[in-house]
Symmetry: C2
Subunit: 284 residues, 2 copies
């Protein structure tokens, strides 16, 4: 079981150890990069001047360097967005294509993500890759959803468990539900959202709760069963500090993933694992 | 509310009236066929000698004639299956392509369904069309899942309701979960299956139960809350009679869709509605 203990004011909090999961994925990535006869390359396409996107892309660049993967950022105008993606589809030196969010205003999300070449879709945004999930095929699953699956597989037996996912996004809630229902994983899955009634009753009856709503302190202690596993997918910046969607009191009764240093770093590791996977498949 | 009453041994059973839903879809189809400058055409591709498939295709043919839609069955060998689909993709006289199940042995389901041309995929089996569902776009949703949504929308306000789907197939359970979660529909959705523990407890706590497991008498009266809405997607042949997955005692306490004469006929009507939709889009 991948957990780590931290003593806090006399009590003992059991964190789920996401660092070691991320580390082992990164080690695997480095080994597989070495086995390739070429250096794999990721291109991130960005269409806005959003400062948090720029900061995220800088950290992508750093991680790429660390893992031995070539990295390029292409800044493009809304009008050239689709043609840029078409060129990247043709470019044999590019193995993975990442589209930075937010998209420039006026661009249709579905049209843009459909234009990300399926075999270079390392983020799992192309409808075809999402549709494959329903057939149980996870070629390029959305990285965050896959990160949650990895965490759960490292701390528990998922089969037969009651899992509640709070949040129905196309990057986390919906694909994660499909992935946890996959034969062999066999979770019983409930998806809740802003229109759900009696949310606390539903989460309290769950063995596992995944929260991806983007609201600090959203999941309170009285919404969680003692001994439950809680996966915190939120990233919120409050009072000069990063925190997740889970209120800190939950840690006293449940196993929780930390934020920062939790699911996010596994997500990033998996993005690069997908770049290597794409390179291996394109070579083959 | 689309319901019909039947007096039975002194009691009163409230059936959900699926016939009138199917009828109104068919009327709409006929009108839209008349507005086209050409006769839309559906081709069903079949690879086996399965007798129940043959019987189903005969009923497709009858329905197509009734609705003014051209219909052709192409029998093909496993080796020619994919090239047949490619030819149908090119054929401008063909608006909709249906692939009959079961597929011939040895064919990979995902490869075959990926080869169904996206814009002629009237059954909603191509991964790209399934993936679009996650983006909230229902161009060609799987017909049975869409039929369930139509029934629910005709008898209740879905928003905020607890819906439990029993069955996680790629034709019903998984796409239906995604469709009911869509913004505006806003159901809270749980998906159960053969590995679910305490199933009865989960279904009993639900406002709406959808059963798609293919087992006669599967959903018993003690698994359903009084006044619940129950959608029976099963079709089973037992002792010379067709029946669904819902035990007849459930009808005494819940609103149930009948089998036969329930969801199935709406599914067929929607298949032809998709053929017209495809024809309209291809013309445009």
């Amino acid at each position: 079981m991948a957990t780590s203990q931290e003593s806090l004011e006399g009590g003992s909090i059991v964190w789920i150890d996401c660092k070691s999961i991320a580390k082992s994925i990164e080690e695997d990535v480095r080994k597989r990069v070495d086995l390739l006869s070429f250096t794999p390359k990721l291109v991130s396409v960005v269409g806005t001047d959003d400062p948090s996107t720029a900061s995220y892309l800088r950290s992508q660049k750093k991680k790429a360097e660390k893992l031995g993967i070539d990295f390029e950022i292409i800044k493009t105008s809304p009008g050239d967005f689709l043609s840029t993606l078409e060129k990247l589809a043709e470019d044999k030196n590019v193995n993975g294509v990442f589209v930075a969010r937010p998209l420039p205003e006026g661009l249709d999300e579905k049209r843009v993500f459909s234009a990300v070449p399926v075999e270079k879709d390392v983020e799992g945004v192309n409808p075809e890759n999402l549709g494959f999930l329903l057939y149980g095929e996870e070629t390029f699953p959305p990285c965050t959803a896959e990160a949650v699956v990895k965490v759960l597989e490292s701390v528990t037996e998922i089969s037969g468990k009651k899992v509640t996912i709070v949040g129905r996004s196309v990057t986390v809630g919906k694909p994660l539900a499909i992935m946890l229902l996959k034969k062999g994983r066999d979770a019983t899955v409930t998806v809740c959202h802003s229109r759900t009634q009696n949310l606390g009753e539903i989460t309290r009856a769950s063995d596992i709760v995944v929260v991806a709503v983007g609201k600090a302190h959203f999941l309170k202690r009285d919404m969680v069963k003692e001994g439950a596993i809680v996966i915190d997918v939120g990233i919120n910046y409050v009072d000069g500090k990063w925190c997740g969607d889970v209120d800190s009191a939950v840690e006293e009764i449940a196993q929780v993933t930390p934020v920062p240093g939790g699911v996010g770093q596994i997500t990033t590791a998996l993005l690069f694992e997908h770049v290597v996977r794409a390179a291996e498949r394109q070579k083959a």
